[in-house]
Symmetry: C2
Subunit: 348 residues, 2 copies
C-alpha cells in the first residue's frame, strides 16, 4: 500500500509542529506545504524545520495553494490558518472541492454547528458532493473541555452538572500570544481591549458547550461568557512576557450554559504566565455531579501546542476512513496515538 | 418514531440495574426479561425492581429465551449472564440469529480478539450475516483501564510507557463478591484458591492490554499477570465482609505487556474492603510517559457496578447505529450519557 499523503496549509507553530511529528511517523509522507510568510516562502520545508531531509523528496514551501494541491493529489490537507469558521470556510471549501479530506485547527471548526450552522451545513454538503470528510479538532476545543467530558459521562446513569476547568500556563508561549492575551498591560488597557475586541482570549466555549449538550441531549436555553484580567500581586517574568505587580498576568475566561432554567455547564479557563508564583496549580479538571460522580484531574495541563498538533495528526486515519461529510469529534472513534505504521489504520 | 425496544438476559445486579436505569430514560421500553433464578421467575419485573409500573405494559420474568425473543422483536438485547467469551458465545449467537443487536457485559467480550480470536471472527460473521451488531463493554474492561487510556494518548505526539491503575473498594459489594475475591480468608487459603482457580480476581487485563496495544499500534510480545493477596494489618469490617488482621482484605492484580523487549504497559488493580483503614486512597489513575505526558487521577474511583450499568445502557444507540458485525469500544464513537430522548440518537 502507498504511504498516506498529507499536505499542510499554514506553516506557523501548529503547521510546522505537525510536520515535525509526521516526519517521525511511519507510512506517511508530507507532499506539499502552502504558506505565505515571506521568511519561509521558497525555502525547503526541511530547512525551515531544521530536520535532515535524508532521501525524502524535496518539499518547497509554496505561497500558492493552486500549485500545492491538485484534484486528489493527497489524502488529507491539514489546514492551520484560522481560528474562525467564517475565515476558514473558503480555504476548506477549496480543499474539499479538490476531493481531499480536511483536518482544521480552527477552534470554531471543532463544532461549527454552534455558531455558524449555515456554513456547517454548506461544508457538509460540499464534502459529501466530493466524497471527502472535514473535521475540526485540537486540544481545546477538541478534547480537554469537551470530548473528554462527554466520554466520562459515558459511565454515568444520570448527569446533574458539569464543570470543565483548564488552568494553564502561558509561560512557554511567544510574543504574539503575550499580546493576544494582554500579558503585561494595565487593567485599564485590558478593559479597553475587551471593549474593542482586540484581545483574543480563548476561542471555543460556544463550541465545547454545544458539543457536550448535543452529545448528552441537553437543550441549552442561554449561553454567557466572561473575559476578566488576572491581576498579579507580584512581578511575574516568563521567557517572552513580563507583568509587573498590579498589571495583567493573563486572562480568566468563564462561560455558563443554562438548561431547564439553571446553570448546568460551567467552563473555567484561566491562562497566565508563571501561575505557580501565586500558588495556582495548572491542570485539566473535570467535575461532574451525578451518578456516579466524576472528579478528574490531569496535572499539569496537557500543553496546548503539542496537544493540538497531536490531535490533528492522530485523527488523520479516522478522517480518511470516515463517511463523507462534516464530522465532529462526537461522530468518530476515540482519538489515539499512532505508534505503528499509519497505513495499517486505513480501511481501503 | 417508535420507542427503542430493549430485552434483558440475566437479571442479577447488572441486568436489574440496567432495567432501573432504562425505566428513568425517555424513548425506550423494556419489552422482555429472561432469567432463570427461581426467586425471580414468573414475577413482574416491576415487582422485582420495586418500581411502580404505572401505565406501562407488564413484563413477566421468563426463564425461556425462546419465549422472550422472536426474530426482530426488539432493537437490542443486553446480555448480562457471563464473564467469559466462551460461555457467553452460544447465548450471543442465539440473539444475533434472531436479528437483534447485542450489548454484552462479559468482561472478555470487551475485546474477544485478545483471547478467543476464532470465536470473535465467528461472532463477526454471524452478526454480519444477520445485519446486526455485537459489542462488549463495561467500566473495566470498557473504559477506565483501556478506552480512557487510548483517548488520552490521542493528544500525544509520542508514547513511551502506559500505567493504568484502578484502586477500588469492595465494601459496597455483597457476599458473592467477598467469596470470589477471597475477602476474610487466610493467606494459605488464598494461595490454594489461586492454584485451584477458585478465586475470580479481575477478568479483563488481556482484553484491556489488547485494546490499548492494537489501538496505538504496539505489537505485544509477551503478557504476564499476577494475583496476590492484600493482607491487612488491622481488623477490617465492611457491611458484608470481615478480614481479621493477618488475613486477606482483597486481591491485588497486576499485569505487564512487553513491546520491543521492554515492559510498556503496566496494569495495577488492587480491590479490597475498607482500603482507607490502611491509608489507601481509591481512584482511577492513568500515567502515560511520552510527549506531552499524562498524569490523570479520578478520585474516588468510578463505582464498578453503576459504571458498568451506565456504559451498557449508554452504548445502546451507538450499537443500533453501527454497521453490522462485532464491534469494540475502539470502533464506535465515544460513550456518552443519555439525558434526552433515546430515539433522538437513533439514525434510522
Amino acid at each position: 500500500m502507498e504511504n498516506v499523503k498529507v499536505a499542510i496549509w499554514g506553516f506557523g507553530a501548529m503547521g510546522s509542529g505537525m510536520a515535525k511529528m509526521l516526519l517521525k511517523k511511519k507510512g506517511v509522507d508530507i507532499v506539499g506545504v502552502c504558506d505565505r510568510n515571506a521568511s519561509r516562502v521558497g525555502k525547503s520545508m526541511y530547512e525551515v524545520l531544521g530536520v535532515d531531509r535524508g532521501d525524502r523528496p524535496e518539499v518547497i514551501i509554496n505561497p500558492n495553494i493552486e500549485e500545492v494541491l491538485t484534484e486528489g493529489s493527497c489524502d488529507v490537507c491539514l489546514c492551520a490558518t484560522d481560528s474562525f469558521t467564517k475565515s476558514a470556510f473558503p480555504r476548506i471549501k477549496y480543499v474539499l472541492e479538490k476531493k481531499i479530506n480536511v483536518v482544521s485547527t480552527a477552534e470554531e471548526m471543532a463544532y461549527p454547528q454552534a455558531q455558524s450552522p449555515e456554513l456547517a451545513a454548506e461544508l457538509d454538503r460540499i464534502a459529501k458532493e466530493n466524497g471527502v470528510t472535514v473535521l475540526g479538532t485540537g486540544i481545546n476545543p477538541g478534547l480537554m473541555m469537551d470530548l473528554l467530558v462527554v466520554c466520562l459521562t459515558g459511565c454515568m446513569v444520570d448527569v446533574e452538572h458539569i464543570e470543565a476547568k483548564r488552568v494553564n500556563s502561558l509561560s512557554p508561549f511567544g510574543h504574539a500570544v503575550m499580546e493576544e492575551q494582554g500579558v503585561g498591560i494595565t487593567v485599564e488597557e485590558f478593559e479597553k481591549g475587551v471593549r474593542e475586541g482586540t484581545l483574543a482570549g480563548h476561542v471555543g466555549f460556544a463550541e465545547s458547550i454545544g458539543m457536550i449538550a448535543d452529545a448528552i441531549g441537553w437543550k441549552v436555553e442561554k449561553f454567557d461568557q466572561q473575559m476578566k484580567p488576572i491581576v498579579t500581586s507580584v512581578d511575574r517574568k516568563s521567557p517572552h512576557g513580563f507583568a509587573a505587580a498590579g498589571n495583567v498576568a493573563g486572562v480568566n475566561m468563564t462561560a455558563q450554559a443554562w438548561v431547564d432554567g439553571e446553570v448546568k455547564i460551567d467552563m473555567i479557563h484561566p491562562q497566565q504566565i508563571e501561575p505557580e508564583m501565586e500558588g495556582t496549580e495548572t491542570g485539566d479538571y473535570i467535575t461532574i455531579k451525578g451518578t456516579p460522580p466524576i472528579n478528574m484531574a490531569n496535572k499539569p495541563e496537557v500543553e496546548g501546542g503539542l496537544g493540538t498538533i497531536a490531535m490533528c495528526v492522530n485523527m488523520i486515519p479516522h478522517v480518511i476512513n470516515a463517511a463523507p461529510g462534516l464530522k465532529t469529534m462526537l461522530d468518530l472513534p476515540v482519538p489515539r496515538a499512532i505508534m505503528g505504521d499509519m497505513r495499517d489504520l486505513i480501511q481501503r
